[in-house]
């Protein structure tokens, strides 16, 4: 009886370890976002934001956190609207000059760009640096 219990416990532990490894692996392979950075402090500045590892056809929102700490959906300034292709990748150009012109970002500082689903639940994030 004791032997059976030991085997059962060992097997359970092994399964648990495997499951954890899988979770870690899937997280490492989960959706990622990257931005061409640094961005020049120019009133007409724009940059490219790219995502990979998303569900094919998935539409996402991008949130930018300015120096006041408030998050804003920058969808109106993205072209095209970010939507994953059949391979789960997407790419968009962000016209970010308005944030620079209105002094909503500071030179030499990094700011968060978050990728979210339609209800603004976070999926991935990165940081963009503004410099001379």
């Amino acid at each position: 009886m004791k032997r059976i219990l030991t085997i059962w416990l060992t097997a359970s532990l092994a399964l648990l370890v495997c499951a954890q490894l899988n979770i870690i692996e899937s997280r490492a392979e989960g959706p990622k976002v990257e931005v061409v950075s640094p961005v020049k402090m120019d009133k007409k500045a724009e940059t490219t934001i790219k995502g990979q590892g998303f569900q094919p056809g998935q539409e996402v929102n991008l949130l930018f956190t300015a120096k006041d700490g408030i998050e804003s959906d920058i969808g109106y300034a993205l072209d095209p609207a970010p939507k994953a292709d059949q391979s789960g990748n997407w790419s968009t150009t962000w016209k970010c000059g308005r944030f620079i012109a209105r002094k909503m970002v500071l030179e030499g500082k990094s700011y968060k760009i978050a990728v979210t689903d339609g209800d603004y639940n976070p999926i991935a994030h990165t940081f963009v640096l503004f410099s001379k």
Binding site: I70, E71, S72, D73, Y76, A77, R98, F99, R102
Partner: protein
């Protein structure tokens, strides 16, 4: 017996569903729609307000801004107006200017049906003349064959207010369109136009600090402390224009917001806009705090619609 049980069960279900509605707001991120680009007055004061709304809403919910510029405000207003009325989408408006499309039959919204939550401030406008203009007084402006004005169009309170004020005072005016207030003010400084009319906070740099433009009157009942020698439009004989040339920044939710959620929002909005720390920040930014309650908001919407209906023919004439 069965009937009694059914009635009790029905009452219980109704009670529970109401309790659930109350307890489920807010249940996710709140979207705050701004029908303009980031960094303008509407965006700036909304950003200033959001931490205080979070403070007074239950559960300190996340609130994100959704800028939706374009379409003379109609894109952003429609995003708010057509959202699900569950309290998770609200939007800022520009009144009375946003009532104009409705009065002209061009809107897909009815502002009387929106759920009004509160108001941020009352914006005082100033008329300023170019240093290079031939005209320096109201009498000279009234006698001029043609006065030029730098505006950004009738969808803005500045543009609409200029048209209505000039009409009321009998000033013959030609409107020179500009892409933004900055460009219009620069046109005034260069002498390309005679007249500019913008909020005091927008013109302060040009009329108080650098004195590139001459302020000639303010649209308020009392003079502005920073420009004490500039008369009010009431002092010049047009007290009615105080209520015509003004701008409020109210916030609304879609029509049909459930009463319990409306009350939660209105209570939080009232507390946030009366928060001394928030008001201190507003005043430092040259704004005049003006929190409003339900009846005042309803009256404000009705007054805006009636005002623009009164001037409808004048507005149509200038749109041609």
């Amino acid at each position: 017996m069965c009937l009694s049980l059914a009635i009790i069960a029905s009452i219980w279900i109704l009670t529970m569903s109401e309790a659930t509605a109350q307890s489920t707001f807010p249940s996710k991120t709140i979207t705050y729609v701004i029908p303009t680009s980031p960094g303008g007055g509407f965006d700036t004061f909304s950003r200033m307000l959001i931490p205080y709304l979070r403070k007074y809403l239950p559960g300190n919910p996340n609130i994100i801004i959704k800028n939706a510029p374009g379409g003379e405000w109609k894109i952003g207003i429609n995003k708010m107006y057509r959202a699900k009325p569950d309290g998770h989408t609200i939007g800022i408006l520009n009144m009375p200017a946003n009532a104009l499309p409705q009065v002209l039959g061009e809107a897909k919204y009815d502002l009387r049906k929106a759920t009004w939550l509160g108001n941020i401030d009352d914006v005082t406008y100033v008329t300023a003349l170019s240093l290079k203009s031939k005209y320096k007084t109201l009498e000279e402006l009234k006698n001029a064959p043609m006065v030029t004005s730098g505006t950004v169009g009738l969808a803005s309170t500045a543009g609409l207010g200029t048209v209505l004020a000039a009409e009321r005072m009998g000033i013959k005016m030609k409107y020179i369109p500009h892409s933004g207030s900055t460009e219009a003010i620069l046109a005034g400084i260069r002498g390309d136009v005679d007249w500019v009319q913008y909020p005091f906070s927008t013109l302060k740099k040009s009329i108080v600090d650098s004195k590139d433009l001459i302020p000639v009157w303010v649209y308020s009942k009392k003079r502005i402390d920073q420009i004490p020698n500039v008369p009010t439009i009431a002092e010049l004989g047009y007290p009615d224009l105080v209520n015509v040339v003004k701008m409020l920044r109210p916030v609304a939710a879609p029509p049909g917001l459930p009463d319990d959620i409306r009350r939660t929002w209105q209570d939080a909005f009232w507390k946030a806009t009366n928060d001394p720390e928030f008001q201190k920040k507003q005043i430092a930014a040259n704004a005049s705090p003006l929190p409003m309650k339900q009846q005042e908001l309803d009256d404000m919407v009705e007054a805006a619609i009636k005002l623009l209906e009164q001037y409808k023919e004048v507005i149509l004439k200038h749109r041609k």
